[in-house]
Symmetry: C2
Subunit: 254 residues, 2 copies
């Protein structure tokens, strides 16, 4: 119950982008170097009380975001866009506050999400210094066979137990079935862009799927191997985890 | 004269790219933080003697390069591409060694150059964190009038005394006439790309021309003002210098 003299705080939903290169991931860290830490410190300055934010999910150290979503509760009597500006000027330039909107108190950045999109970018060859921080650079040009990758993708799309393409995150076993609604491989010159959409992702799932797709493109994993790995239901050394810097959290769906 | 037991060293011409964000410019610095310092330190490790390199010209702190050129003399009995790799792995990831070739001893990266191309990138609005380090971000969207910019450009192209669009670099007065052979303004969405080609550029000339072109696009400098400034032959407060992070040394012509 809200006491008569207290107005219930308003819930705010924000979207942000960040270059993850120098952060210790999204989540708050003892070092204070999580993206969340920088945002919370700035909010504390603005609101003069500690403000806890809730993200749609974590991103690992070195992973980027174009559309990370988080929410928090606070009273803010001004226009939402003024909050965007006030928050934006007080966080590192590698974080951009893109949108602020007022939402109902039932909204939760994590639990209300019905899906996510991740993008993984690969570069075949020696990428220039402006591209390197944002791609997995296969420096000894290995020509990936797109047809083989597409055949592997056919076996990955849809609803599966993705344990073979995830890492143990040390938490209690959750249901490892996910619906990979979209897996798209686009090639342009020396760049390869993988898009993944699912109702949710297991820990390191996108980077593991990417590692497997690259192995498929090199002829090291055949489409049948993918089927067997899915059916086996456990992570093996046959699947490598792609490095973090090629990965972007693209969009959270609500 | 070369003594009989000494083979004259071979002259090597190299092309490199760098993200200038964290360097103190191209030139060697007491701090050791010039791009040149990192390359020379690596060459000393490779050749086991100090190697002095000669660039096509300086770039200021924060300015980037896609095609900076330098030369040095050294004996290297292996394929040129092996030098590219050996040098590339020992410099920061923000420097890329693109090409190595053997040249005649008459070649000089600076004095043999017959022209240069610079690119300046502008973004109208709040650029994302992946673009911000490489553009001049006009955060309060000021709509630049391209027609006005083009009219200003007409008066800048060709051979002029560009003193009004340069900064004093503290050295002896040199001939301030340059031939601006190309000045191209391309707009795509919120991005604006300015390309400059000349037989040579005065100190901070591209950033000053960019500052003037933006002022022209905002209606603050009229085409006639540009003419008068050129004729006046001195730098005034009417011309602002654009920030370094939007500037790229694109190509050196020989």
């Amino acid at each position: 119950m809200t006491k008569p003299h207290e107005k219930p705080a308003i819930r705010w939903c924000l979207e942000c982008a960040y270059d993850g290169t120098l952060f210790s991931g999204w989540q708050s860290q003892p070092s204070g170097n999580g993206v969340q830490d920088f945002i919370e410190r700035r909010l504390e300055t603005i609101f003069r009380i500690p403000v806890r934010i809730h993200g749609s999910g974590r991103t690992d150290a070195g992973v980027h975001a174009r559309g990370q979503v988080f929410h928090f509760d606070a009273d803010w009597p001004y226009a939402p866009d003024k909050m965007r500006v006030a928050l934006g000027v007080g966080v590192p330039r590698t974080i951009q506050i893109k949108r602020v909107k007022r939402v109902g108190s039932e909204f939760h950045a994590r639990f209300s999400a019905i899906g996510k999109r991740y993008i993984y970018r690969i570069y075949e060859g020696d990428a220039d210094p402006f591209t390197r921080p944002f791609v997995w650079c296969l420096e000894r040009p290995r020509r990936l066979d797109l047809k083989l990758m597409e055949e592997a993708a056919v076996n990955l799309r849809g609803q599966h137990d993705f344990t073979a393409f995830a890492a143990d995150n040390g938490t209690e076993l959750e249901n490892p079935v996910r619906d990979l609604r979209r897996l798209e491989i686009k090639s342009q010159g020396q760049s390869l862009r993988l898009a993944f959409e699912a109702n949710g992702f297991l820990y390191k799932m996108v980077r593991s799927l990417t590692g497997a797709l690259v192995a498929a493109g090199e002829g090291k994993l055949r489409p049948d191997d993918i089927k067997q790995l899915l059916a086996g239901g456990q992570r093996t050394a046959r699947v490598a985890t792609a490095p973090p810097q090629g990965l972007f959290l693209g969009k959270v769906f609500y």
